[in-house]
Subunit: 199 residues, 4 copies
């Protein structure tokens, strides 16, 4: 499997996972009650928005890491598969968060959501560690400084996501708020911050 | 992320969003009643058709704008993500319109439909403004006249779509009829008109 | 929109439409009754198989026609969109046929199925007529003999599919049997026949 | 249809089939009961994981076989379609296994699961036999030793998968355990073993 085909396959999974999110958005109002039902369904829109942005961020990051390597090996392929398994899983906890944000199930839903992101971050960290160790898969044009920056960035993912997972056991709103804030900073954030917060 | 990969990712989201529309088409007649149920389900076919054509038009337009730029930056990526979030959201209001076209919920459904298109048009206008400002991302081969024409076209999108959204609060049928007429003109329309009406 | 991007977009819609078919396959048996329910669900497998093969045949044909042209224009784009709308619609009548093959709704279901294929064939014929008229979009390397053969082939699609649609009003089984036979001949058929039967 | 387009189409089906798996994962707990429901839903996560990995392995293998050929013919196209029909079918038995792993329907579900994989392996073996016979579609750069190794590997698929299908009639857990073990060995396994177990 060449790097180009792997990228195309990953792009497919990212795009499908993001687009499938809409299948879980629903509103039950009948007739004139629809307007009210649509308004009350805001957690569904918020969850759709958050997960679409998260998948978009992961897609951008995934490309950033792949852009500095120029070959893939078997271990890389299957570590990457683990990452895709996590990304493609996200629509499920997204739906749970949307449905349970206003009932006592919210903490279990938020925990599974953050746990999925943590698993994705661990896969990504393993993927990078494998690719970068002794520059195993790194392209010749990539500087050691770039490799070091990626190594430092990717190491932040697992503890940061695990922290939100733990936080969600105490308060789903606070944990998801942190995830949303992170996404917001990532998207609008300036150079220094965003260069460091990858995954 | 290169422009080529971004295009491939966007193509994926457009194609998936359009193809998912069919999952919401349904007819409930049992046995011999199926023929009647299929006939009565015409709002579902109409909504499927309208949204598929709208997504097709957006896809064509998106390519027209991307064809005159030759690089992307971080802001472009995330403005583009906002556009994709709107396009991928369309199956939800499409389903609402199909289900509620003959009950009092029709205005709420049509409003959400037009609001989604308005948000897409705003994202597209922002995207283009960012790309074209001082020719930031514009390809060298693109003439200033082309840039000006795109700038003029893209500016029509937000007010036109916002107007149908407002209209839908008064009459869902009239608002959706305008959207359908616009799509029809766009598809069959001659040069001058179609060159100007870009989303 | 270049021909390459159009092909990629079409490939996406064909692949997604085919893969979505499985979402409608279901079996309701609980516990030990599952084995019986899975056996009785054979119309679902048959409908899945037939539609997947039909979409595959259309995909192959679509490529055959696109391989002799080397540019696309606006009319081609939207005629092609009409074709995609028909292909992406197929999962709906497929589900109806699977569910109603053993109740009186079977004729309505089969009629909609054949009507969808007829609409696809009409779109394809229009698409080709537009592309081939005075070799408007035909690649220079394409011989006139190739163009004539495609023109002859594509003309068979609408009447053949319309005939099965009419037939389905009398007998769903016979009409769908003809569609299946056609697909079988197409897939295993020898040169002369298959070269002529292009949907 | 060129080999490149065929690969892109296949990649699409593999990616979509894998990503659709999540649509069947669900948990029914309301409110505070959600945490318990999510824990009890482990067969759903396990089935999702197993099928995603299986599709990933098939994707890798499919590329390995396609990498040594350099053209496709009509028979290859339709044998490949048969393979895609099996891969795209997998979400259905996956859902059955997940739902019935703890009731008496488990053997029927596991049998259909293994039967689907067997059909995929038979398609792959036929595909390869057709491509490799007298090096019909084999690239000039491919050595005879490579061809022989692929021929030996692909022949293992049908009997191995048929054996698990038979086994599932006696014990679903043991049969699925073998499938999972095979996947595990494939992913983490060393050279000699993994080079032999392809499909």
């Amino acid at each position: 499997v060449s790097k180009a085909r792997l990228e195309a396959f990953c792009d497919g999974v990212f795009a499908i996972a993001a687009t499938l999110l809409i299948l879980h958005v629903s509103a039950d109002g009948r007739g004139a009650a629809l307007a009210g039902a649509l308004t009350r369904a805001w957690p569904q829109y918020a969850a759709y928005l958050l997960s679409f942005v998260m998948i978009g961020i992961w897609w951008v990051n995934h490309h950033a890491y792949l852009s500095v390597i120029d070959r893939v090996d078997r271990t890389f392929l299957f570590a990457n598969l683990a990452l895709l398994i996590c990304i493609a899983f996200l629509p499920f906890p997204t739906q749970l968060v949307a449905e349970h944000l206003r009932d006592p199930g919210r903490r279990a839903a938020a925990f599974l959501y953050c746990l999925t992101l943590t698993a994705a971050a661990v896969s990504m960290a393993f993927l990078w560690r494998h690719a970068s160790r002794r520059r195993r898969l790194i392209a010749a044009a990539t500087t050691d400084a770039q490799v070091r920056r990626h190594t430092r960035d990717v190491a932040l993912g697992p503890p940061a996501n695990a922290a939100t997972a733990l936080l969600s056991l105490w308060s789903a709103e606070v944990a998801l708020g942190f995830v949303a804030l992170f996404a917001l900073f990532y998207v609008v954030g300036g150079g220094a911050l965003t260069r460091r917060t990858t995954a």
